[in-house]
Each structure stands twice: as C-alpha cells, then as structure tokens.
C-alpha cells in the first residue's frame, strides 16, 4: 500500500483537519488506536507550530516502507522565519511564543524518528516517522 496526502495549513481549523486525516491514514495502514492517537497528536503539534510561527505551510503524510518495516512519514514544511536556535527549540519548556514549549521535544518523543532542518529567513522542515510494531 502506498498512500499519501497533502494538507495546507493556514488556520486552527486546518490543524484539526490534518490530524483527522493523519489518523485515518494511520488506521488504514494498520496502526493500532493508541499509535494512531500518538501520530494524530504529533501532527497537531507540527501543524500548530506552522500556524504559530510561519502562519502557513504544508503537511504531507504518507506511508513508508523498508524491507522489514512499514510505517508513516509526516513532513511539515513552511517558509516562515526559521528557528534561530534549534538546540533550545528541542528542549522541554523552551518557547518563544508563550506556549508550554512541549511542541518539538514532545513530537520527538511521540515518534520513532525525528529530523529538523531550519534556516533563518528561509523556513523550517520537520520530518518524522513512526514504524508499526
């Protein structure tokens, strides 16, 4: 099975749409309810980061496969201001927006793989994966 979808993120309603679509795809890929909720929660945080910091961006959600594993990959991409200090942004409790600062470190804990590329003035791309087990 190879499914993929893209969700444009520009408002708080899009955050809900993205996580619902992500949950549906995760379930159709055979993730259990618990994992589907972890994935939906991670999508919610990634989409919210886009709305909060970049105003708009895009999430792409698709199935991924290796020889031995099947999983889901989410790429959150924006052309926002970028992150000045990625190390701090990945630390619990760090926030420049007055939030709880759990977003990125939380997403990292919810998923199996986490990668972030951010260039100040160019934008941020976060790629996360979760494998079925």
């Amino acid at each position: 099975m190879n499914e993929s979808m893209r969700v444009l993120i520009a408002s708080d309603q899009d955050i809900v749409t993205a996580r619902q679509k992500g949950r549906t795809l995760a379930s159709s890929l055979g993730f259990l309810a618990t994992d589907a909720t972890l994935i939906a929660t991670a999508i919610s945080e990634l989409a919210r980061n886009i709305v909060t910091y970049a105003k708009k961006g895009e999430l792409s959600i698709r199935s991924v496969e290796t020889r031995s594993q099947q999983g889901i990959m989410i790429v959150a991409k924006d052309e926002g201001p970028g992150i000045q200090n990625i190390e701090s942004a990945l630390r619990d409790g760090y926030s420049t927006s007055g939030s709880l600062g759990l977003g990125l470190p939380g997403v990292k804990r919810l998923m199996d793989e986490f990668e972030i590329v951010s260039v100040v003035g160019v934008g941020t791309t976060v790629t996360v994966k979760k494998w079925k087990n």
């Binding site: 708080d12 955050i15 618990t34």
Partner: protein
C-alpha cells in the same frame, strides 16, 4: 464547534462533542468563566470523552480554565480522558498538574457532591 454548557443544580456541565479547534477552546474558556458567575455555580465538569487529541494547546487551555474558575470560587473536574489520549499526553509531557480529573461524568459529579456536601 461550540461546546454546550448545561446547568445542573449548583454545577455546570460542559460536554465536548467533537474535535475542538483552538478558537473553540478559547470560546469555551470565555463561556465557562462567565457562566460560573451568572449561574452562581460551585463546580464545573468538562467532559472530554469525545476529544480525539489533547495536544499542548488544549491541555494548557483546560488548565487555564480550571485555574480561572478556581479564582472565581468554584471547582473544576475534567472527566473522560480516553486511555489512548492519556498515553499520548504523557508522552508529550503533559500532566495537567493541579487539575482534578475523574473517570467519567458520574465520578466527576460524585467528587463535586462530596466537596460541597457540607455547605450547600
């Protein structure tokens, strides 16, 4: 989607019926903090059984609601957090510390009745 708030005796019950946007959560906060005074309620129950995801924003807003309502002299109980939602919250790092939670509406009402049984 607006969250309906019902008055039952000296308590208010807000039942979340679908996934909430950030704006819905903020509206809920405004509505409850107002209603608790107008209705002279002693306690508020927020039933989140239908919430698909409790992310950092939702948790923060619920915690703020509980704190604001306490400052207005009433108690708040969050009921119905689903097991998989609780699992995701803990992974994310959310504890809802300082907020009273209960299994379901019945337990939430029992808690409030107990808390206010001596001064009603």
């Amino acid at each position: 989607m607006e969250v309906p708030v019902l008055k039952q005796g000296q308590f208010l019950i807000a039942t979340v019926q679908a996934a909430l946007t950030d704006e819905d959560l903020i509206q809920l906060r405004i509505a409850l903090v107002e209603r608790v005074v107008v209705a002279r309620s002693r306690g508020v129950i927020i039933d989140v059984t239908s919430m698909d995801v409790m992310d950092s924003f939702a948790s923060r807003t619920l915690r703020e609601i509980a704190q604001m309502i306490r400052l207005r002299g009433a108690a708040t109980v969050i009921v119905g957090i689903q097991p998989e939602v609780a699992f995701a919250m803990v992974q994310l790092g959310i504890t809802l510390e300082g907020v009273v939670t209960a299994l379901d509406l019945e337990e939430g009402l029992a808690y409030l009745n107990q808390a206010f049984k001596n001064d009603s």
